[in-house]
């Protein structure tokens, strides 16, 4: 079978596309040609600017090379030029779907370094907002993942809930996406009157409509046909890559910062972590969907716990973290977000490293796409939930 080893490069004069080079393998009886297909940086499937170069053999993916950095805005450098209060306005923009959860890490880091006392009410408010923000994020992915599989409708239904929740959060924070509601020592301002009542109502409505999504997406036969068994991720690979969030939970590992290293008041309530079994695309989506329900459970508990009292503590005129380094890890909607904050005692951080969940999660894509079909590659790409800004910062 020595013929199979021979390779012949052919450049047909009338090849479609200028840069197509067919590589003919074998003895010519049944020649196969490899084609490299570049998806992105502006492609409907990438919801953002993310590029992935696929080596295709027919519709079979032989290899995948993600190319990132199209959304690199230099957050870590900019953070070194902004003081500790201004950083919040940067951090809530890297993962634009979960602005509130992003701010949380900075606030906690600065508070720990300054040894600030945070009032109880502020902590519960932060939890409430963080959970609502988590639901906002997951709803977006329910819509966009279905869109990638060709179903246009779930997006519209997801945004029905999103608008309600955004309106709720806007009533307290003034922002629809970027809340900048946290400040070192608490939150900016107390909740408006009637907020908790409205919050409870929306929680009830969202819970009722949760079944719509199960029917519309998860229970759909074609959806199951497209996702079950697609792109399974083994546990050890996931851990070695540093994958967190729904993608990790889908493999069956219940590693969730809210449970394992409780911050805020997560230790005082029950946090359910939905788990998958095989780590395939279906499980990832299942976990994502059921995290909405888990978050609604948390929100209902927070409503019962919410104490009265002040929501922020007095800050010095100048926030200056003492010398030293701190690493704060919070559970973001897409995985664990880590902030390494190193201070030299000045007004701005010396080093502000963001360990963003999407960056680690996306590393799994080349592994998952090996040998998949082209439509499955899209299915995998969507099921490793990521936000491009969160990858590139």
């Amino acid at each position: 079978m020595s013929d199979l080893e021979t390779t012949e490069r052919v450049l047909p004069s009338n090849a479609p596309g200028e840069d197509v080079a067919f590589e003919i393998l074998g003895d010519g009886d049944f020649p196969t040609a490899e084609m490299s297909l570049s998806i992105g940086p502006a492609h409907p499937a990438t919801h953002g600017v993310f590029r992935i170069v696929l080596d295709l053999d027919g519709e079979r993916v032989r290899g995948a090379r993600p190319v990132i950095g199209y959304m690199h805005r230099g957050f870590e450098k900019l953070a070194e030029y902004r003081d500790y209060r201004q950083i919040a306005a940067l951090t809530n923009r890297h993962d634009w779907l979960s602005g509130f959860c992003n701010e949380l890490g900075v606030a906690i880091a600065v508070e720990s370094m300054l040894e600030l006392e945070v009032p109880d009410r502020a902590q519960w408010i932060r939890m409430l907002m963080a959970e609502w923000n988590r639901i906002l994020n997951h709803l977006m992915f329910i819509g966009s993942y279905a869109l990638e599989l060709g179903a246009i409708t779930p997006m519209f239904y997801a945004f029905r809930e999103r608008e309600d929740i955004q309106h709720l959060m806007e009533s307290a924070t003034g922002g629809r996406l970027h809340f900048t509601y946290n400040q070192p020592g608490g939150v900016k301002i107390d909740l408006p009157k009637g907020f908790l009542k409205r919050s409870a109502e929306i929680s009830k409505v969202t819970r009722e409509r949760f079944d719509d999504y199960v029917d519309l997406v998860l229970g759909n036969e074609i959806f199951q046909g497209r996702t079950v068994g697609v792109g399974p991720l083994p546990q050890d690979v996931a851990l070695s890559l540093g994958i967190t969030g729904p993608t990790l939970h889908a493999t069956g590992i219940a590693e969730d910062s809210r449970v394992t290293e409780p911050y805020l008041k997560y230790g005082d309530i029950d946090v359910e972590v939905p788990l998958g079994e095989n780590g395939d695309a279906f499980d990832r989506f299942y976990v994502l969907l059921h995290r909405i329900r888990a978050s609604l459970d948390i929100i209902d508990q927070i409503h019962d716990h919410m104490p009265a009292g002040p929501v922020n503590s007095k800050l010095p005129k100048m926030v200056k973290a003492p010398e030293g380094a701190i690493y704060v890890r919070t559970e973001n909607p897409l995985g664990q977000l880590g902030y390494w904050l190193e201070s030299d005692g000045g007004r701005t951080p010396w080093r502000f490293k963001m360990r963003t969940p999407s960056f680690s999660n996306v590393q799994a894509i080349p592994y998952l796409m090996q040998g998949a079909l082209l439509p499955d590659a899209i299915s995998i790409l969507g099921s490793v939930f990521f936000v491009v800004g969160d990858i590139d910062r």
Binding site: G48, Y70, G74, R93, M155, R160
Partner: protein, 179 residues
């Protein structure tokens, strides 16, 4: 095409042609960052710009009439945006959606951010905000539709563009002129 960019069309034909362009803005969303989410919000049920004839089903630039650049444009991305704009067929319109696309926004001092999409492609409407609300995009679209209804295709293709509209600064004026 040939004729339309050579001669000024008679008024009734021009009206019908402008009306067609006005209500059929197939929209290519260049979603770059946070603003893309607000763009999607503007296309969904509550804000729903599809009722204005802005159809977000153009998956590629070839079928698009309107390019909405929503979000931060980085130096790495800039060539792709320019190329996509060039792939769009004339007449084409550009809405710069959000502070980052307008001028660099909160990343004005970054080493990797292009300070505004107008440095590489011409812009018709600027929508300010970080991110702007979906209502602001609707406002921008209506301002653009007014302009399309009154413009001359010949001038447009010859490159004689009108000054861009900046929402908030002179949008009411633009509407007055259009009315």
């Amino acid at each position: 095409m040939g004729l339309m960019d050579q001669v000024e069309l008679p008024q009734p034909v021009k009206y019908v042609f402008n009306w067609g362009r006005k209500y059929s803005l197939w929209c290519f969303n260049f979603g770059l960052a946070c603003c893309a989410i607000e763009f999607i919000a503007a296309s969904t049920s509550r804000h729903d710009f599809i009722r204005h004839g802005v159809i977000p089903f153009a998956h590629g630039p070839r079928q698009a009439d309107l390019l909405v650049v929503s979000g931060t444009l980085t130096d790495k991305m800039a060539p792709a945006v320019k190329r996509l704009y060039e792939e769009m067929p004339e007449p084409k319109y550009v809405i710069s959606f959000g502070s980052c696309a307008n001028c660099g926004g909160p990343y004005w001092d970054s080493y990797s951010v292009t300070k505004g999409v107008d440095q590489i492609i011409p812009v018709d409407v600027y929508v300010p905000g970080c991110p702007p609300r979906p209502e602001a995009l609707l406002d921008g679209i209506i301002a653009l539709q007014h302009r399309i209804q009154n413009e001359s295709l010949k001038d447009r293709i010859a490159g004689r563009r009108q000054d861009p509209i900046t929402l908030g600064a002179d949008a009411p004026l633009a509407l007055e002129e259009g009315a």
